[in-house]
Amino acid sequence: MISLLLIALPLLAAAAAFAWPGERTRPWFLPAAGGVHTALAFWLLANPPVLARDAWFGFDPLARAVLPMVSLLFLVCSIYGVSYLRLRSERKNRVFVTALLVMIGLLSLALQAQNLGLLWVAAEATTLVTVPLLHFNRTARAFEASWKYLLVGGTGIALSLLGSFCLGYASLHGGGNGDLAFTALVAQGASLTRPWLITAWVLLLAGYGTKMGLAPMHTWKPDAYGEAPGMVGALLAGGTTTMAFVAILRVKQVVDAAGAGDMTERTLLAFGLFSMVVAALFLLTTKDYKRMLAYSSVEHMGILAVGAALGGAGVWAALFHVWTNALTKGALFLSAGNLRRAAGAQTSDLVSGLAWRAPVSARIFVAGLFAVTACPPFGVFFSELKIILATFQMDNFFAATVFLGCLFFAFFGMGRLVFAIVDGRPRTANRPPGERIPEQPGVILPPLLFLGLSLWLGLAAPALLRAAWTAAAAQLPLPPP
């Protein structure tokens, strides 16, 4: 019942917000809904419900392992959003707020969906509802970004639909009734027709991989993250991608059950490593600190894929990494948004000396840099170390080598850019160099909160979460060697 509430509540809030007259007060819907949503999610985390056999959606172990993170992410972002929208009061925020609320509702639906078709519906809807968020700034660049997002993302999502149908047909042809419910598909197991199964996996991985941002389907990411407001970037990088990842995990569960585990492993590993390499190469010479975050996100999606490919311990580490990465990225995106406002530009050609211009945000950004490049005691360090550990446990030295090499190059590129914009002579595009930016607590505390969460996850991830991850990882057992 509560799992339905998780979906319905934001949607109702969205409707209310849409109807709400007050421009100034409307943003408060965000933290309100976010707070309740988070409370519910964590309550469910603490005492998970029993799942109905043929439920359309439900708070199953996978949802339990990630959904609380998404709503936590949304909560902190929404706190940020209140101050942000006040700063941007020249824009009407009706659509923005509504879309945000719809988005979290649909995310909760997608993460809980127990039926491939329903999952696809939610995923596609999330794609569509993101569009107005992307061109909130109404600049030409924003329109271009949303156009590309829509076309590339739409194509990808269309492919995943085709894949879903193929899976259904695999079941149908294999003697099943073609139902897309996961439990049914898993139960059908090896009797799924192999060729259709493989086709389905290929299309679904490509489709949801596009949504997740695995190279070479990542091309929409830099544009979207570069042009969207910081908090939208955070939600995309932490929420939407997580949804896509969970979708892939669910499909993997089916395909593994059908006995094609080695194929899923092979393909996921290849795409994960490829994404890491591509991201590292792009990061090496990037000059735009918001697009940089996009490529970093591509890298971390690759890490997730690698983790998922390793199975067992790898999946556990990947779920752990979903949390750490999303929350750390949150800090980066929000502080990057502050810096963007402070500097009026986002490339190191135009900007430098932000440590003087916006001291707190700049410091948070640097801390976030270290956090996201696996520097202890932040969470990412622990999750990535666990994944590396898993690669070594699988004796996959090639993967480990590529992985570590990419970590270095990514750090090198990001570090060089970050210190280039943070240090040096104050130089910005929009303001006289002598001027400091007032940094309201409303836009400073949320990223700090994210950093704190990242630290907390790293040093003392509670047993409850670990248990949740273990339960989720147990659903994707190690493929038989």
Binding site: W147, K148, L151, V152, T155, L159, R194, I198, W201, V202, L203, L205, A206, G209, L214, A215, P216, M217, T219, W220, P222, G259, A260, D262, M263, R266, T267, A270, F271, V278, L281, F282, L284, T285, A355, F370, C375, P376, P377, F381, F382, L385, I388, L389, F392, A400, L404, G405, L407, F408, F409, F412, G415, R416, F419, D423, G424, G458, L459, A461
Partner: protein, 649 residues
């Protein structure tokens, strides 16, 4: 008072120091010094009374139960850390005071305590995960200390180079510890010599720790970092931070099995680092850069000792292995002491004159008598001359090498060239420090800047005096410090180093004592004699040249010219010369600069190659959505091939 309590006090003191760093400098000073003193006491306790202090309070950090262990080896390094930390703290209180650096001083204090804490953590952690955490935090703290003067681009560049290099080391250590954990099934560290499968991990450790230690081909980050950091930071960096690399090597060569070739490789690296390090040092004209290169040299000497100890361990030759080991360990202390003293001295020179450029200094002994004499003392020590500590440790290493030679084993083939190289290194270091002392402190001021300067205050002088006293003490009474060596060596190779009987340290010490006494006596006598005979003052004779000017003094470059000439093949100095022409030359000038060859001739070209690759790849993201969809299709195709390839099981 158990070491647990003392270490607790130390931790609390340092943490309190971090809190006090911003608002209450005095509190910071007191707390940090207390912490250092407590750590010192704990280390002494552990070294004096044998038992290993082992502490496992059930609480969990990052999924692993905290486990601290203070054995002989940790205590050995902890002692050095506490000494240098205390000295640097007191020094910084004046050298980097809020008065002169209102912006950077508070944060520098905080990072300083963070550095000390994390280094102590690295020494104490008996759990791989926590070791790694401490290691990385210490790396980052060091980065922010190196870039204390962020406004200077040179400092930022140096810091960035350091950080990037350290990240390579970090990646290697990731792999090292992860593999260790994957193989042993847990993060707990400890002796595991019974698992021969772990031997290959040594190479990862060698790169990871060697990069921090700054052994020769991996030293690229070291000179600029140590030169651009504030001097108390340089002191702890080259006195302690690079020793942590050595600690890692010693620690894990002691605990883990190593490949057969390990000892030989380490010894070879040691020889290369020693000779080339001092060669590069001779080429430098920047006081602190020069000192930094001497760190490479001394790391080389340490590694020679360690390498031969490893060879001996592999061959079961305790007789000479223990000498090499003891020499290496003692040299770790010694280098920490005199190199810190040298950097603090250089710091007080920079503090007074505001330049590190040796060719602009000169005759500073008048203005800075304390600094000058202590610097000269440290120079004598680092040149490995009796009766100071540098000689004692080098002498132990020599003994090991000579015994290895007279043992006529296979090790002799390596020991002979190593011994010769050690001799060369000593002579080169002597030349180098004659140059430094002569050019910086003796003669006449070359430029006005070094004329009107002042000696540093007591808070900068006291640490230097302390370090100097330590150098003298180890030199004159080495036998007193033997128990410490024994307990450290026992942690490495149990039951190897029994007592001082194997080395006549006592005799050497007494000889040093007598020598020191006689030296002072003779100096005094000669001085009194000179007084009796009467003194006339006159200008330097200079072979009757009428108008000698300070600028006519021999410069550092010309001094080292002969030797750097021999090493041109690796130093590749860049010279700009306008030589005087015809009878009445209008103007002539000569400038020489020795680049960091490995960095500029090897690393940077390789880096630019990767850069070009990256730039080429970026063109794929050309902004055309059609292309993006094409990539999507290609990805799909690749995926299909990948899925079908291999086929169903």
């Amino acid at each position: 008072m158990t070491p647990g309590g003392l270490l607790g006090i130390a931790g609390i003191g340092l943490t309190a120091g971090i809190l006090g760093a911003f608002k209450a400098p005095r509190l910071w000073l007191a707390a940090t010094l207390t912490g250092a003193a407590a750590a010192f006491a704990a280390a002494v306790w552990a070294l004096a009374t044998g038992p290993v202090w082992d502490w496992q309070p059930g609480f969990v950090i990052g999924g692993e139960a905290l486990h601290l262990r203070l054995d002989g080896l940790s205590a050995f390094f902890l002692l050095l850390l506490s000494v240098l930390g205390g000295a640097g703290t007191l020094y910084a209180a004046e050298y980097w005071a809020d008065r002169d650096h209102p912006v950077s001083a508070p944060s520098a204090r905080a990072w300083w305590n963070g550095l000390l804490l994390s280094m102590g953590g690295v020494l104490l952690c008996a759990n791989g995960l926590h070791f790694l955490i401490g290691w990385e935090i210490f790396t980052v703290c060091a980065y922010f200390l190196i870039t204390t003067e962020r406004q200077r681009p040179a400092a930022r560049a140096a810091g960035w180079l350091y950080l990037a290099a350290s990240h390579v080391a970090m990646v290697c250590l990731f792999a090292f510890f992860a593999l260790l954990a994957a193989r042993t099934g847990g993060w707990e560290l400890g002796p595991m010599g019974d698992r021969p499968g772990l031997a290959p991990l040594f190479w990862l450790a060698l790169v990871g720790f060697g990069l921090k230690a700054g052994l020769f081909p991996l030293h690229i980050w070291l000179p600029s970092a140590h030169a651009n950091a504030p001097s108390h930071v340089s002191a702890i960096l080259s006195g302690m931070a690079i020793k942590l690399g050595i600690y890692g090597l010693v620690r894990f060569t002691g605990w883990l099995p190593v490949p057969d070739s390990a000892g030989w490789v380490v010894a070879l690296l040691g020889v290369v680092s020693a000779v080339l390090g001092v060669a590069f040092a001779l080429g430098q004209h920047d006081l602190k850069r020069l000192l930094a290169y001497h760190s490479v040299e001394n790391i080389g000497i340490i590694l020679i000792g360690l390498g031969f100890a490893m060879i001996a361990a592999a061959q079961g030759q305790a007789a000479w292995g223990r000498l090499a080991l003891a020499g290496a360990l003692l040299h770790i202390w010694n280098h920490g002491l005199f190199k810190a003293l040298l950097f603090l001295g250089a710091g007080s020179v920079v503090h007074a004159t505001g330049t590190r450029e040796m060719s602009r200094l000169g005759g500073l002994w008048r203005a800075l008598p304390w600094t000058a004499s202590l610097f000269a003392l440290a120079a004598t020590a680092i040149a490995g001359l009796p009766p100071l500590n540098g000689f004692v440790s080098e002498w132990l290493v020599y003994l090991g090498l000579f015994d290895a030679v007279s043992a006529h084993g296979t090790a002799a083939y390596a020991a002979i060239p190593a011994a010769v190289a050690l001799g060369l290194t000593g002579a080169l270091a002597l030349a180098c420090f004659v140059k430094v002392c002569g050019v910086v402190f003796l003669g006449l001021p070359r430029t006005p800047i070094s004329r009107h300067v002042h000696e540093c205050g007591w808070r900068m002088r006291l640490p230097m005096l302390g370090l100097g006293a330590a150098c003298v003490a180890i030199g004159l009474a080495p036998v007193l410090f033997w128990p410490a060596l024994v307990s450290a060596a026992d942690a490495w190779q149990p039951g190897w180093v029994d007592d001082a009987s194997s080395t006549p340290l006592a005799t050497l010490g007494s000889f040093h004592l007598a020598l020191a006494g006689l030296v002072i006596l003779a100096a005094v006598l000669l001085w009194r004699r000179v007084k009796q005979n009467g003194i006339r003052r006159a200008g330097t004779w200079d072979c009757g040249y009428a108008a000698p000017a300070p600028r006519m003094q021999y410069t550092a470059g010309s001094f080292a010219g002969i030797i750097t000439g021999w090493f041109d093949w690796i130093l590749r100095p860049v010279r700009h010369a306008h030589l005087p022409k015809d009878n009445f030359p209008a103007r002539a000038d000569f400038a020489e600069h020795t680049p960091e060859t490995v960095l500029e001739r090897v690393i940077e070209p390789a880096g630019s190659l990767v850069q070009r690759l990256s730039l080429a790849v970026r063109r794929l993201q050309d902004g055309r959505v059609q292309a993006y969809i094409l990539y999507l299709l290609l990805g799909l195709a690749a995926l299909a091939i990948l899925a079908v390839m291999g086929g169903p099981r």
